[in-house]
Amino acid sequence: MDAFTTLTGLVAPLDRPDVDTDQIIPKQFLKTIKRTGLREGLFYDWRRRKDGSQDPEFFLNQPRYQQASILLTRDNFGCGSSREHAPWALLDQGFRCIVAPSFADIFYNNCFQNGILPVVLKASDIQALFEGVATQDGYKLTVDLATQQVTTPQGTAYHFDIDPFRKDCLYRGLDAIGLTLQHAPQIGEYEQRRRTQAPWLFQDVK
């Protein structure tokens, strides 16, 4: 996983609450057995008009947002299905950071597994950022994980919270499984204790 330290990038605004993972990447793109190449499916239905042609109004079809690496959106982003194809598709499009007032739990977790930083800010601060994007072409934010700050082109800085453990893993780009495997002896001790306490939990599935 790529580390996330600091990012200065173009901001793309998706001004809708409750964006679910079925919209982020519809089912027909879940048949893949790969993690890559999912950009094509990102917001597939929303990118298109009813006749199937590309909708030039949709934010990701606008030239000014083509190189965006920060997605600005509203409450409960990533709700619904647990499909990790959603962060994979966003990553494939170039997004490394998503800024919203709130996220759905599973999606929030999935971001950290893929080197994407989900940033939670107050709804009023999010509103201010939407207004900033609307009024300035080429609007960029700087997201600094070490200091936990999002800074606007005008120099306004917003602080965000993040679990210290998650922050450390993302900042250093650590392999989560490798970290857990360092505790293999402790896992073994746990299993031994539980096997005595609750042996039915260890019946083989067959």
């Binding site: 048949k31 299905s81 599973i106 597994q113 402790q186 896992i187 746990y190 599935v205 067959k206």
Partner: protein, 467 residues
């Protein structure tokens, strides 16, 4: 010891170690695997040269992508076929038990776990699927995970987790006749909203919950995620033990007695505190119908589609307008005037034998309206077999319903069972997002009884007064 909630007891039993900031390495007892969210996890293991820590703690089944038509014919979609073949291959390589597509035990992953006695009280259970919350009906801590975490569990039998908060949802009283667990959970989501449970594990309590069968409790816990909660749970009781006893993977003999004795402690102690409490009266719950594009956009069948022009909150008004436009509904129109084209009875929410018995009892001797196409997709091969032994398939077919093979089917429309653009469906599934059942399709979530009545009348009817 201090009074504990059910959740706290299970959580504490599974802590392997904790970081200073409370981040916990949580032991996972059981792992369900399906074809859509696992290929990249197995690939990850292979690339890193890792093997499963306890392959015998996992059970795999293809369900999302399988056809619900004749299985003797090759799958028409080569990409679907490859994904299913990949699951078969991975299970062979890594030594994981698989119920293949032509195994009678094959079915929707959240139907087969309980059916086999794989799902037991007090367990931690995960699956790369958000509806893993279903298994909480047994007093287990069960939640959906992403593919990276699927790989993590395979490699370590653990997950790194931050402890969630607890929410009690208490439903006291008696449901109206013909109302069901589906109506309870839709009413709860209507009350707390689609993000109301975010960050929480819900425990459902109260006399109306205790009165539910295991099937009903599974329907309830299944849709916890639609209220934002990764997990929902019901404390196990005699109903639970009676359901599990004698199932193929359940403990038996002395081990059964030992397990049941332990399971009797799995309840919230008197005096234990939840972080939040929500209360509903069962009597106040009408048969529910969603009118919009999130499960929280829901009302009673005796209600009307909301009118955005009366809404003061600008964001709410915009979201409502957009939903009504997508759903092609007029503000203020009675729910009962909504005409439907398709009916889907199935999914991990409502495809168990009790759901099918109930649906058949309403369909018996009646005909599906000429303008409606209706299908029943049993939750597993064993549910299908049981239903056929009871003659339910004949009742459905005589009424004009299609009777299919087991799978996820039109709940997410990954296989060939898809709504066409503009088609309107009464569905017993769990999500009414835009395009969920097919691009441009319009979904109304309802209970099995409401779905049957809508199939027969061609529009929604109040099942309480329907004859």
């Amino acid at each position: 010891m201090a009074a504990q909630t059910l959740f706290e007891k299970i959580w504490n039993d599974h802590v392997v170690r904790a970081e200073p900031d409370g981040t916990t390495l949580l032991y996972i007892d059981r792992h369900l695997v399906h074809e859509v969210t696992s290929p990249q996890a197995f690939e990850g293991l292979t690339v890193a040269g890792r093997s499963p820590r306890r392959a015998a703690a996992a059970l795999a089944v293809p369900d999302h992508n399988v056809p619900t038509t004749d299985r003797r014919v090759a799958i028409a979609d080569p990409i679907s076929a490859k994904q299913i073949q990949t699951l078969d291959d991975n299970c062979g390589t890594f030594g994981i038990t698989l119920f293949g597509m032509n195994d009678i035990r094959q079915g929707v992953v959240h139907v087969i776990g309980p059916e086999q006695g794989f799902t037991l009280p007090g367990m931690t259970i995960v699956c790369g699927d958000s509806h893993t919350s279903t298994h909480g009906a047994f007093g287990a801590l069960a939640f959906g995970i992403g593919t990276s975490e699927v790989e993590h569990v395979l490699a370590t039998q653990c997950l790194v987790q931050k402890r969630p908060k607890t929410m009690e949802v208490r439903v006291e009283g008696q449901l109206s006749p013909r109302c069901s667990a589906k109506d309870i959970i839709l009413a709860i989501i209507g009350k707390i909203g689609t993000a109301g449970g975010t960050g929480y594990v819900i425990e459902y309590t109260g006399s109306a919950i205790r009165a539910l069968s295991m099937e009903g409790r599974m329907t309830l816990c299944n849709m916890s995620i639609e209220g934002g909660a990764r997990a929902g749970m019901v404390a196990p009781d005699e109903t639970t033990f009676n359901y599990i006893k004698g199932r193929p993977m359940a403990p038996n003999g002395a081990l059964w007695d030992q397990a049941v004795a332990a399971w009797r402690n799995l309840h919230t102690d008197a005096g234990a505190k939840y972080d939040a409490v929500v209360e509903l009266r069962a009597e106040s719950i009408a048969p529910q119908v969603t009118w919009g594009t999130t499960p929280g956009m829901v009302t009673g069948v005796d209600g009307n589609v909301p009118d955005p022009s009366t809404m003061r909150d600008e964001k709410l008004r915009q979201a409502t307008e957009r939903a009504l436009e997508y759903m092609a509904l007029k503000p203020g129109m009675p729910i009962r005037d909504i005409r439907i084209d398709k009916v889907f009875i199935g999914s991990c929410t409502n495809s168990r034998i009790e759901d099918l018995r109930l649906a058949a009892s309403f369909a018996k001797g009646k005909k599906v309206a000429g303008s409606v196409h209706a299908m029943v997709v049993p939750g597993s091969g064993l549910v299908k077999q049981q239903a056929e032994q009871e003659g339910l398939d004949r009742i459905f077919k005589e009424s004009g319903f299609e009777w299919r093979e087991a799978g996820c089917s039109m709940c997410l429309a990954m296989n060939a069972d898809v709504l066409q653009p503009g088609e309107r469906c009464a569905s017993t599934s769990n999500r009414n997002f835009e395009g969920r059942q097919g691009a441009g399709g319009r979904t109304h979530l309802v209970s099995p009884a409401m779905a049957v009545a809508a199939a027969i009348e061609g529009h929604f009817v109040d099942i309480r007064q329907w004859s």
